[in-house]
Amino acid sequence: MTNPALPLIASRLVISAITLLIVSVAVFFATTMLPGDTATILLGQAATPEAVAGLRKAMHLDEPAVLRFLYWAGGLLSGDLGTSYANDMPIADLIAGRFVSSMKLAGITALVSVPLALTLGITAAMLKGSLYDRAVTVLTIGIISVPEFMIATSAVLFFAVYLQWLPAISFANETVTWSDVLRVYAMPVLTLTFGVASQMIRMTRAAVVETLNTPYAEMALLKGASRGRVVLRHALPNAVGPIVNAIALSLSNLVGGVIIVETIFNYPGIAKLMVDAVATRDLPLIQSCAMVFCVGYLILITAADVIAILANPRLR
């Protein structure tokens, strides 16, 4: 007997691949539409027209955009991300170290925010209508409404300037001891967690409340099951699909949040690299960073969908 989930998962993966292709087209053409001619920028205003033309030819800038896209996409597929315009280094090398730093930040944030959000969301759903539930709701809505840069700057003002407990700038390479790790990551992780967790709490609560309203949850209660058992054994397994999707969507918000947080705390991650690349008009670097973000986003969403498919007993 073939597993009915397999074709579904396969088609989901194919859709992801197609999405990635569309995204790469969008990223490439959006960045090439940025104003200014790359060769002129690189050579400065004093360059002779011959020099500019020579550079354009050398960089294939005189060829049609479609052809340049094919070169670029082909390079991506073979692992060649191209060379940075700004400092002539292979982009792969530039990104590698920064990528690890960003993943560390995102990973720690996920480790903190997911368990926190699940606990708060599930308990709020169990105690629906209670003072605790309302407090959690008010708090999460409050935090969602505050933009991340506001939280980040307030945190700097409070912890770094007034209390002087934490450094205002996070250099990840200074982390030697655990207390260093704590000092460096505390504020960025706090800021990101605020933004990410509140969304997750709300969606987890909604998903669990919905399954608790089903006849089978009532049936479990009438079998004499305790509230905890009803939630853990009957409601949660059926809420996995929406919850996993909520987690994936929220974590993908990290992508946007990371740009702000890395900039404010001067954290040497990939988002900071991208922001710097925009400042120096380093097109290949911008494109590569954008692709890294998109791939990360797609992996999260696809993983959530696959888990949701696997969690459905009808497809087992």
């Binding site: 309203n213 089903t214 006849p215 089978y216 009532e218 049936m219 479990a220 209660l221 009438l222 079998k223 004499g224 099951a225 305790s226 058992r229 054994r233 009957h234 397994p237 059926n238 969690a311 007993p313 009808r314 087992r316």
Partner: protein, 551 residues
């Protein structure tokens, strides 16, 4: 015998969405003796399920027990603390839900859920529980009792799930089982098996029961005593014999009257001439087209029928037999793949959008759920005015007058026209739904289960109205229903459908004895009768039963 349950002056309050507090159970008292089955009967909103749930110490969200006591073996379930209540549930009192399909957790195997009671209350080892569950499966005559527990709920049929939920209720050896309309969602042929299984298990183990239902004939088969409820108040209580044969309370009489009236055959004058509607070899279905030009899932396989002017055709069959698809195909909502529809001598296009306005006007459809068929944002006069403008180009004063006439026709007060559907009762909504079809001044109305969502008394009144309108307006109906007594009451001819095919057509007088197809025989013999001995004396060929209802 001692009283197992003593309910005294029970009161339950509900909080409405607007925050108003309404008393939905107003001082109900009755007893249940050990080993006795008591039925709670009444229409929707009568509070029968609410009362039954208080026996488990449970109220639905927004409700609370505000007074009185519910004593179960000496313990007052209304006042027991949460933890104690949980320890009683499943071991002393257990619950069989209305829709087992919804009450089983889709993510767990059936066995896991059936033996969960023993796990929660630590009654026996998992192996012993499994063995006991298998015994119960056998006692409830479930197929493959050894392996059925390993399946997931979506892998077994509705009738089987309902019996499995009974096994779930019985595994903790309770003193009393609450049945909450356990056969309402089932087809009649399936209902019989389930009722039989319930009855034999309950009788053998001498367990008391509270059986909630709106169907007197079902209750007559299983209950020792009947409690009649209306509007949260007890109307009458008595033995099954007494309630059926010599009811005292006017409401009980009305309830029985509605039942007997429905069983009276209709007589409408027949007119000769060409048929009003003729359907030839109709094929329709759902899903993508295959290479041979037929849809993947065929809901109708070559159906032919005729409706004479001024006469009614009933279409019966169990859920999934294609009867609603037939109505949708005739109306053009689901275009037929092949076959011909001839209306009043002229061929009709398969799809509704290809038909002329006049053709659409003459053939109207009324849907089962008035709730979803009426736009909740529009007032009744807007709802009725729309077809008047569309088909007859009416406006202003003229249209308003016609809306009044339509409301008169369906026996609704004119003042209702300013209200919205949500402010009407179920029966009133169905009348508006019907008036909307009448507004077009059709020759033929397709009625798709129009009384299924209504209570017996209300449904009987709607049927009477349909008959009266037919006499006045010389209409014809195609009446689709799974309820044989309703079809019998209004139709001149009855077509039986099974698995997308019309297997037989016969006059309603022949429904008892004249059926020739084995499935029709099975179907007609499965309709419960008010006679309490009916179920026990009913003989059905077991092979036939498994051939047609083994799904």
């Amino acid at each position: 015998m001692t009283n197992l349950v003593e309910i005294r002056d029970l009161k339950v309050e509900a909080k409405t969405d607007s925050g108003r507090i309404v008393e939905i159970i107003r001082g109900v008292s009755f007893d249940v003796q050990e080993g006795e089955i008591v039925a709670l009967i009444g229409e929707s909103g009568s509070g029968k399920t609410t009362i039954a749930l208080t026996l488990l110490g449970h109220t639905r969200a927004g409700c609370r027990i505000s007074g009185g006591s519910v004593a179960l073996a000496g313990q007052d379930m209304a006042r027991l603390p949460e933890r104690k209540r949980a320890s009683v549930r499943g071991t002393q009192v257990s619950y069989v839900p209305q829709s087992a399909a919804a009450a089983f957790n889709p993510a767990q195997t059936i066995m896991e859920q059936v033996i969960e009671v023993t796990r929660i209350h630590d009654l026996m080892s998992a192996d012993a529980a499994r063995a006991r569950a298998t015994d119960l499966f056998k006692a409830l005559s479930l197929p493959n009792p050894e392996t059925i527990g390993d399946r997931y709920p979506h892998q077994v049929s509705g009738g089987q799930l309902q019996r499995l939920s009974a096994a779930m209720a019985l595994i903790g050896d309770p003193k009393i089982v609450i049945f909450d309309e356990p056969t309402t969602a089932l087809d009649v042929t399936t209902q019989i098996e389930v009722l039989r299984a319930f009855k034999s298990v309950m009788r053998k183990s001498r367990i008391a029961g509270v059986y909630v239902s709106h169907d007197l004939a079902v209750v007559a088969q299983i209950a020792d005593r009947i409690v009649v409820l209306k509007g949260g108040e007890l109307q009458e209580i008595g033995s099954t014999e007494q309630i059926l044969n010599s009811p005292q309370h006017p409401y009980t009489k009305q309830l029985l009257g509605a039942f007997k009236q429905a069983a009276r055959a209709a007589s409408t004058a027949s007119q000769e001439g060409r048929p009003l509607l003729e359907v030839q070899d109709l094929v329709a279905g759902y899903g993508p087209m295959q290479t041979d030009g037929t849809p993947l899932i065929k809901a109708l396989r070559s159906v032919s029928l005729k409706v004479e002017r001024g006469r009614n055709l009933g279409i019966i069959g169990e859920s999934g037999c294609g009867k609603s698809t037939l109505a949708r195909t005739i109306a053009g909502i689901l275009p037929a793949v092949s076959g011909a529809i001839t209306f009043d001598g002229k061929p009709l296009a398969p799809a509704a959008h290809a038909r002329t306005r006049e053709e659409l006007r003459e053939l109207q459809i009324v849907f089962q759920y008035a709730d979803t068929a009426l736009n909740p944002a529009k007032s009744i006069s807007d709802i009725l005015g729309r077809p008047l403008s569309f088909y007859h180009g009416m406006a202003g004063e003229k249209r308003a007058r016609r809306v009044d006439e339509l409301l008169d026709m369906v026996r609704l007060p004119r003042a209702l026209k300013h209200r919205r559907p949500a402010e009407l009762s179920g029966g009133q909504k169905q009348r508006v739904n019907f008036a909307r079809a009448l507004a077009a001044e059709p020759k033929l109305i397709l009625c798709d289960e129009v009384t299924s969502a209504l209570d017996t008394v209300v449904a009987a009144a709607v049927i009477d109205l349909l008959k009266e309108l037919q006499r006045e307006l010389s209409l014809s109906y195609i009446f689709i229903s799974h309820d044989l007594s309703v079809v019998e009451a209004i139709c001149d001819e009855v077509a039986v459908m099974y698995a997308g095919e019309k297997i037989e057509q016969l006059p309603p007088s022949a429904m008892g004895s004249g059926a020739s197809h084995p499935y029709s025989k099975l179907l007609f013999s499965s309709v419960p009768k008010l006679d309490p001995t009916w179920l026990d004396s009913l003989k059905q060929d077991p092979e036939l039963l498994s051939a047609f209802s083994g799904r």
